[in-house]
């Protein structure tokens, strides 16, 4: 549905996009993660037609953005990171504008407007000016204006920044619904649990390109998790691991479950000395942290 190849964009001395490749299938939610300055927002703006790339191509459902920009843009919905609504107009008027520009009209516009407002818990505030809505309602209002026309490709740039749990839950539910309807969704975020909740595939951006792409399990394979054991009293001396705090052992390992089992075997029969034992499987947070030094997990493939 969305195929981006070799996208390059330079801002003066900064190479914002440096051969950015990404393909997203219909119905797929692709979580685009990476540190600030990795090129995520420039990527979204370029795909949305707001920036002209120095090189590379963008195909939206087979339509080339370079040769048929208006047709391509008609298939894309962009939710920018910052709030971008008309504050003096009501939510209904904002929705009528963005829905109307996309081609919705008459009964269809009214029906779909009511439906998206209900899904995002906004029905009661449809006739209030945007400026009078709470922060969470404004976030949902922005999402509603993007999701209303049901675009084939959705670019959501940190849509839940500053959102309360109710807002986040409602947004994620509707994003999942749109994917189930067949939309290809690029979801940029720093809130990694959201991507797990959405069951998203991942694209890891760094230095203006995608350095890893795949399913969560593949990307996490090989990343270290953590084992933590606390004892009633001091850590037994015969355990061949250094104590991190009095009465506690905590260490990273690529196979936390096997390491904990081994540790309990080493402890011997006196397991009553163990107060608690926990393991933490590698998470997206671990993957994200590994980006700091570009230490890719063994399961990840280089997408560049």
């Amino acid at each position: 549905m969305l195929t981006v190849s070799g996208l390059r964009k330079r801002w003066g001395p900064v190479q914002a996009l440096n051969g950015f490749d990404l393909h997203i299938e219909p119905g797929e939610i692709c979580g685009l993660i990476g540190h600030n300055g990795a090129g995520k927002t420039t990527f979204a703006r370029t795909v949305a037609g707001l920036e002209r790339p120095d090189a590379g191509s963008v195909l939206v459902a087979g339509v080339d953005l370079a040769t048929a920009p208006r047709s391509a843009r008609a298939l894309i919905g962009l939710a920018p990171q910052e709030l971008a609504l008309y504050p003096t107009a009501t939510l209904r008027q904002n929705l009528r504008l963005f829905g109307g520009l996309a081609g919705l009209r008459g009964t269809q516009l009214r029906t779909e407007l009511a439906a998206v407002a209900e899904e995002l818990i906004l029905t009661d505030v449809l006739d209030r000016p945007i400026a009078t809505l709470s922060g969470g309602q404004q976030r949902r209002a922005q999402a509603a204006t993007v999701l209303l026309p049901r675009p084939r490709v959705l670019l959501l740039d940190e849509p839940t920044v500053g959102a309360d749990p109710t807002t986040r839950e409602a947004l994620l539910r509707l994003v999942r619904t749109r994917a189930d309807e067949g939309a290809a969704i690029c979801y940029t975020t720093h809130y990694l649990p959201e991507l797990e909740h959405l069951d998203a595939t991942l694209a890891v951006a760094a230095s203006g390109r995608v350095i890893a792409r795949g399913h969560r399990a593949d990307l996490l394979d090989g990343l270290p998790g953590e084992v933590a054991v606390t004892f009633n009293g001091p850590v037994p001396e015969h355990l061949s691991r250094p104590s991190t705090a009095p009465g506690e052992l905590r260490f990273s390992t690529v196979d936390p479950a096997r390491e904990l089992a081994q540790l309990l075997r080493d402890l011997g029969p006196d397991t009553t000395r163990v107060r608690s034992a926990t393991i933490r499987e590698p998470s997206l947070d671990d993957l994200y942290r590994s980006l700091a030094t570009h230490q890719l997990p063994t399961g990840a493939h280089d997408a560049a």
Binding site: P26, R45, A48, G49, L50, R70, R73, A74, L75, I76, L78, P80, E82, L83, A84, L85, Y86, P87, T88, A89, Q93, R96, L97, F98, G100, L101, A102, G103, L104, R105, P129, T145, P149, R150, R152, E181, G182, A183
Partner: protein
């Protein structure tokens, strides 16, 4: 997946126009103020214009068009503000990334503004006719047509300012200084006959001069002067539209 939605440029222009009307109606303070102020000024200054009109057409033929032109010029910032607000609200990028073309967006902004400036002039000319004897009937179709041309001219100049202004302060400075300078130099506020001679020399360089003289020519039946004024205003409108269109595509 729902079938692709179909829309036409005309339909999108209508959607943009309707939304611009919403924005203008929700914040009507400035246009209403300019309309009321123009009526107040006309009422107060008409006797002064009568005294100044010792020769030539009566004072109201100077006063009504002069004040109409002046207050539409002062409303330049209303037009500029419409575009500048889009950037302040960050909605500009959302419009640009949508299916509407730049010309559609521009048309959707311009049409309600033209209607607004036309209404502003119509109120003033109707009051001037009813209360002070402005010879509107003598102008027949020429006054409404020139009012429409002038509304389009101010709209396109205001949009050009809005496209290029980078801040509220910049827009306010450009529109206020521009409007006041044009008003003074064109003879809209004070008749050229009583101003220093050099003002008459530079007056034709201002669009306000051509609007004022076009309206006066319309009601005095000077067809040649009317056509000349209308052509100059149309040319300025086209140039400003071009500047707006080029800026809006950036």
């Amino acid at each position: 997946m729902r079938p692709e939605l179909a829309s036409t440029p005309a339909r999108r222009t209508w959607v943009m126009t309707r939304h611009t009307l919403v924005l203008l109606i929700r914040d009507p303070g400035t246009p209403v103020a300019y309309t009321v102020m123009s009526l107040v000024l006309l009422t107060v200054l008409r006797p002064v214009y009568d005294r100044l009109a010792t020769s030539g057409p009566p004072g109201i033929v100077q006063a009504a068009p002069g004040i109409a032109v002046m207050f539409t010029l002062l409303a330049l910032d209303v037009a500029g503000q419409l575009l500048l607000s889009e950037r302040t609200w960050r909605t500009w990028d959302r419009l640009r990334s949508g299916p509407a073309s730049p010309s559609t967006i521009l048309a959707g902004k311009a049409l309600p503004l033209i209607a607004l400036f036309l209404t502003q002039q119509a109120v003033l000319f109707l009051v001037a006719t009813a209360a002070f004897g402005f010879p509107l009937a003598a102008g027949t179709w020429r006054v409404p047509l020139l009012a429409l041309l002038w509304a389009a001219c101010v709209t396109s100049c205001g949009l050009a300012l809005g496209v290029h202004a980078r801040s509220q302060g910049q827009l306010a400075a450009a529109s206020d200084i521009g409007a006041l300078t044009i008003t003074c130099l064109s003879g809209c506020l004070v008749p050229l006959a009583v101003l220093p001679h050099w003002v008459s020399t530079v007056a034709p360089a201002t669009p306000g001069y051509w609007a004022l003289h076009g309206f006066q020519a319309a009601v005095t039946g000077n067809t040649h002067a009317y056509a000349h004024a209308a052509a100059v205003i149309a040319a300025i409108t086209a140039a400003a539209l071009l500047v707006s269109a080029r800026g809006i595509r950036r």
